[in-house]
Symmetry: C2
Subunit: 233 residues, 2 copies
DNA sequence: TCTGGTAATATGTCTGCACATAATATCATG
DNA sequence: CATGATATTATGTGCAGACATATTACCAGA
């Protein structure tokens, strides 16, 4: 075997990945430390560090100070998926985008939601229901609560013309968020709005966002039947 | 304002994030180059680089050589979600894990799937259907095709005792993959296996994996009603 | 034997410098 | 004016060395 040199971090990363795949370094096993690898690969420790750090972010390695680096026992695959602005997603398909507000009124979220939001007693909310369309056909129905106490500007903004999501993205950036994806049968309301049969299988996204510890908004999005959220790894 | 120093990359990152949120640097706008920022923050350019690179990976900044760095116009949020081994997910909940093979036979995938797999004429496949259970109750029903030409070992492995996923993870690591998430109404077969009503809304994951350009496996997983896939950002 | 302090060690990160690379801006030339 | 070669520039990455920090291993003392 010709003694190849691995002089950039991507080459080092590829070689380490190869060794893991070839089970030269088996799952759960320790790998040599950065210094030794740097010498073997004929590069600086920083280069090895960069490569290993990347692989650890990808879930292939587990690293701990002093303890060293080991091959992940459960190579949890991490898929990064983009949560797009609906408008952008529709326009990227070359379709025309439409927005319509269906409902907008101040009210108090149900108890369970308040707890999830970690909201305070004094917080005021506005509920906004809207539908976004692609070439005129319903694409997603959105049921949202906005915390007026943390986002006072939202009170004037009635979301009549603009999606709350777009307004919030630019006016109330969030630092934390929880997302969950699941399937639901279309209720009569959802079916009516999306123009499908009651009971149809609907892909749903729940999302709650906070700015540090103050809740901003909670939203549930019902996508039209057949919608697929895609990504690659 | 006291002249704070930002001496580590996380502090730099926080400060840049703060300026974006505070709209000191508005969406679409260029920000100063790394050298200038390094001088302003009183640190090395590499430190600024690390911070900006991270923010760019997070989708908050867009960077191009020579062109410079600008605040992302559409702050596409990227959620990284873990694709866990089902066994681990179930055991982490403190439930007992079970696996049962329902079907295993060599056959040829339908035309459409073959095209998606980018498979060759000569490739042979085995189809495996199985169910994984949590505390005895059906958790996920899996319908899988394995390419025997690229994973010859899978021919002997009959997947009678072990989930194909676990076997493949350790024996046929993949380099690329496509994933999609969507909702589907339970067919009679699915309903029968998951023990739910026909037509119930089911959360489904489709996944195809390749080792470079050679397809390894294609799998569709039907999760029991009520399943939620969760992540936070 | 148990416990707490200390030394050893692997990773984490910063610095200052250098060169590579991609993309833009500029300018000469037809 | 259009075009293509060239200079300029911002990011990308490499290196060596240093110190920081978390964590383990070890040892002395009760």
């Amino acid at each position: 075997m010709t003694r190849r040199e691995f002089k950039n971090w991507q080459a080092v990363q590829d070689e380490v990945r190869r060794r893991i795949h070839a089970r030269i370094w088996a799952p759960g096993e320790m790998i040599p430390n950065e210094q030794d690898l740097a010498e073997e690969f004929g590069c600086a420790r920083a280069t090895v560090n960069r490569a290993l750090r990347n692989l650890s972010e990808a879930g292939l390695l587990e690293r701990r100070r002093k303890a060293g680096t080991r091959v992940a026992l459960h190579p949890v695959r991490k898929a990064t998926l983009n949560i797009p602005m609906i408008r952008k997603e529709i326009e990227d398909r070359g379709q025309s985008y439409g927005y319509e507000r269906l409902f907008c009124r101040r009210s108090t979220p149900p108890e369970a939601l308040l707890r999830q939001l970690k909201a305070r007693e004094s917080d005021n909310f506005v509920r906004v229901k809207s539908v976004q369309t692609a070439d005129g056909a319903p694409f997603v129905f959105e049921d949202r609560w906005v915390n007026l106490t943390t986002v006072p500007g939202a009170a004037e903004e009635a979301f009549a013309e603009m999606s709350a999501n777009e307004w919030l993205l630019t006016h109330a950036p969030y630092t934390e968020g929880d997302i969950s994806f699941f399937a639901m049968s279309a209720s009569e309301e959802v079916a009516g709005i999306l123009g499908c049969e009651t009971g149809a299988a609907i892909f749903v996204i729940d999302r709650i966002t906070w700015d540090h510890d103050r809740s901003i908004t909670s939203v549930r999005q019902y996508f039209r039947p057949g919608y697929r959220m895609e990504t690659s790894i």
